[in-house]
């Protein structure tokens, strides 16, 4: 867990860190002893007051589920059972190790995650940059790109399933003109995964673009003016002003998208139609979340499902550590 601590503090600009400490030591030369005391109390206690609501609600509604899930993962428990189940140690975890469906789900989660997240974030960044331009009807465009996030997923699924219908879908008709015929978007592994990732990309690009846009709004215009005086092209300004200035936000979206990709659930479930959480007839696109849901809700093996959940959590922490290393290394290169 220590890994992502550094990750987040690394995300903040180097300039901001030394500042608060100097100010705290130097400043409060205010008159009146009680005022100074009050002031010190304010500086000391207020951070805790600000983060308290989160931790209070989390302690009430988040901590217990987290620990409970861990406890379940060490037991054999079935949904609907009244008792507390029987202790099985790490059996639920070791069983996963030689379970072909778990590995398949893990691989699918990884490939789906990569092909849906990487293009999505790149496109979101570009779109946010364009939306940051002075445009007519800018407000409309900004809101319109969030429409996929608000559109009912059931309605969207109806559209996408028809687009990707292997027999009469628009996409296969289009590809037919280029001599590519009869791609089985429903049952072949890679086509199905591409179709699903296109739904994911469609739904979440605008979402991330808006997050980037908010960050770009806070970039001081002087930086652009200075760069322009310097003769930097728009593209150059984007690379050397915009991107570095919103780096913490980019870092944020990478973390959140990674988590989202690891927990990918709704899109493959709905794309599968009636096949349900098995993710295709041969598990072509069953993700870890679907596998967990299948175990926990369809079959009621809560212990095994909880083990999958904890494995997902550990994988995320591992990915977080790797991302951190990459970011630090690249930062060091840039710095030198």
């Amino acid at each position: 867990m220590a890994t992502s601590v550094r990750a987040t503090s690394d995300g903040s600009p180097p300039s901001s860190r030394p500042a608060p400490s100097t100010s705290r030591r130097g400043d409060p030369g205010a008159p009146g002893n009680w005022r100074a005391k009050l002031y010190r109390l304010d500086t000391k206690a207020s951070p805790y007051a600000y983060i308290a609501p989160f931790f209070l609600v989390f302690a009430a509604f988040g901590l217990f589920p987290l620990i409970y899930t861990g406890w379940l993962s060490l037991h054999h428990v079935e949904l609907g059972e009244s008792g507390s189940g029987s202790w099985v140690g790490f059996d639920n975890y070791t069983n996963l190790w030689d379970n072909q469906f778990f590995w398949k789900a893990l691989r699918n989660t990884f490939t789906l995650g990569v092909i849906s997240t990487v293009p999505q974030l790149m496109m979101a960044l570009g779109l946010a940059h364009l939306l940051n331009y002075k445009l007519r009807a800018r407000g409309f465009f900004r809101v319109a790109i969030l429409a996929p996030y608000a559109t009912s997923i059931a309605a969207a699924a109806l559209v996408f399933v028809q687009l990707f219908n292997p027999d009469y879908g628009m996409i296969n008709q289009l590809l037919g003109h280029f001599g590519v015929d009869g791609i089985r978007w429903d049952s072949s592994k890679w086509p199905a995964q591409i179709a699903i990732s296109s739904i994911v990309t469609w739904r979440w690009t605008g979402y991330n673009a808006l997050i980037y846009l908010a960050a770009m709004q806070a970039v001081p215009s002087d930086l652009y003016e200075a760069a322009a005086l310097d003769g930097a092209s728009r593209w150059r300004q984007f690379i050397s002003v915009t991107i570095p200035s919103i780096r913490p936000t980019i870092f944020f979206t990478i973390i959140v998208s990674t988590i989202g990709a690891t927990q990918l659930f709704g899109e493959p479930l709905i794309y599968g139609g009636g096949v349900g959480p098995t993710g295709g007839t041969d598990h072509q696109y069953q993700t870890l979340s679907l596998y967990m849901y299948d175990k926990g809700w369809q079959v009621g093996q809560l212990g095994q499902a909880s083990a999958v959940a904890w494995v997902m959590l550990l994988i995320l922490l591992l990915i977080g550590a790797v991302q951190l290393l990459v970011i630090r290394r690249s930062r060091r290169k840039l710095g030198s």
Binding site: G80, E81, Q298, Q301
Partner: protein, 453 residues
């Protein structure tokens, strides 16, 4: 330091927002009538009580779109008000019901249970949450067809549900396609083609295929064929004790072999029944297949999906062997504060007279013997099916089939195995050309992964 108007406004909005939310949250909890179901304790016959009934899809009881049975009952019992808690998707309904039962909260007085889940519901941990109908005045399991109440009976003899409908299964077929393929079109002659043996049904499929109109498969799906064949078999997935024996069950083997053969010979349209993407329902209208195994409740679906343009092209014939597909139960929860009243309502809703009314409105075949033999059921015809002027005698066909259904033992894991076989085994063969042997070993691996056996 001047406070700008904007920040003061923000502060006002913030405080007002928080206050509103706090008020709303506490306000919601004080208006207590909606959430806590089956209100407070004691019940005398004159006291006003509300009975909540939880069900899925369309049970046809309600006053708005159904047979108005609730208002009829409320008129008979002025002190009772009935509220329906309906969820469209049966799977979603059951998933949350299991959690509600486990925790003993969020339950309605009456909960409907689909036959696919009833074997799970009679397992000790869930059965203990339901009222035993044997302890209820006026209950007699013999009122229903023999296999119905048996399915809702636990190992130690409790009866946790009363039967609503059953799904005797016949064969719906397209007379126009049959004619083009040189097959008879009259229901009697068609039934004679395959009478007594599902293998003959597949043979008719081979004949059909030889002269079939282009783009028309013999039957809609291997999964549908598997279900229909299996439902007529005396041994299905489980033995008398509820233990899973699918791997050695002769019934499963028969159904699998015939469905696999149909796939291999290209007799199926490679569709998945009830897929949420509508491909299956669209194929009715576009005429992609000539037959579909048709439980009584599916006739409405065939006519809706095929549309008025195809009226008169479908007909219904007796199946090779009689089987049951679908049907439900009403159970009374122990969490109910009004168990006696709820049980009385459940019994009334499943009594012969009411089941006949539901049949007349929706075509659900009564599981209550009195309802099944009622002339209103027996003489019903459906003019969507059969040639013009000669509507199909659906009441007679389904009631006859219902009489000859043989009860088969069921177990709690049947539904899981059935899903794996139809959605992963057979559909995989249809869509990806997997061989029968490979598909079966996949099925076994998945059953082992999910159920550990």
């Amino acid at each position: 330091m001047r406070t700008s108007g904007r920040t003061r406004k923000a502060a006002v909005i913030a405080v007002a927002g928080l206050a509103t939310c706090a008020t709303l949250i506490t306000g919601c909890s004080s208006s207590d009538d909606n959430g806590s179901k089956g209100s407070d304790g004691k019940s005398s016959s004159s006291e006003q009580i509300t009975l909540h009934i939880g069900d899925f899809n369309e049970f046809g009881y309600n006053d708005k779109t159904g047979a108005k049975l609730f208002s009829e009952y409320e008129a008979l019992h002025p002190n009772i008000k009935i509220v329906e808690d309906n969820v469209t998707d049966g799977q979603q309904y059951w998933d949350s019901l299991k959690l509600h039962l486990q925790q003993g909260s969020g339950l309605d007085d009456i909960q409907a249970i689909e036959v696919g889940y009833i074997a799970e519901a009679i397992q000790p941990q869930l059965a203990s949450k339901f009222v035993d109908f044997k302890s209820i005045k006026g209950f007699s399991a013999d009122d229903w067809v023999s296999y119905k109440e048996k399915q809702a009976t636990t190992a130690d003899g409790q009866v946790i549900g009363v039967g609503t409908d059953i799904g005797p299964t016949a064969i719906c077929y397209r007379t126009d396609f049959f004619q083009q393929a040189g097959l008879p079109t009259d229901p009697q002659q068609v039934a004679a083609l395959w009478n007594g043996d599902w293998a003959k049904f597949v043979q008719v499929g081979e004949q059909f295929k030889a002269k079939a109109p282009s783009g028309v498969a013999f039957t809609d799906s291997a999964g549908g064929l598997f279900n229909a064949v299996l439902s007529s078999q005396p041994t299905q997935f489980s033995d008398q004790t509820g233990k899973l024996v699918y791997d050695s069950s002769p019934g499963v083997k028969t159904a699998w072999d015939l469905s696999a053969k149909a796939v291999k010979e290209g007799l199926t349209a490679k569709l998945q029944q009830f897929d949420s993407n509508n491909t299956w329902s669209a194929a009715f209208k576009t005429g992609k297949f000539a037959t579909v195994a048709c439980p009584s409740w599916m006739t409405g679906l065939v006519s809706t999906n095929s549309g008025p343009a195809n009226k008169g092209k479908w007909d219904i014939a007796q199946p090779p062997q009689a089987g049951n597909w679908g049907g439900s139960f009403l159970a009374v929860t122990k969490a109910s504060k009004h168990q006696a009243e709820a049980a009385a309502l459940a019994q009334w809703l499943t009594a012969a007279a009411q089941e006949v009314k539901i049949f007349q409105k929706f075509g659900n075949i009564p599981s209550n013997k009195g309802g099944l033999s009622d002339p209103a059921v027996q003489n019903t015809t459906n003019d969507y099916f059969g040639p013009a002027g000669k509507p199909a005698p659906t009441g007679k066909i389904f009631a006859t089939t219902a009489q000859s259904i043989q009860p088969a033992p069921i177990g709690p894991d049947d539904g899981t195995v059935k899903d794996i076989i139809t959605k992963n085994g057979l559909l995989d063969m249809e869509q990806r050309g997997t061989s029968s042997e490979k598909a079966w070993s996949n099925v076994k691996a998945q059953v082992k992964d999910k159920l550990g056996e």
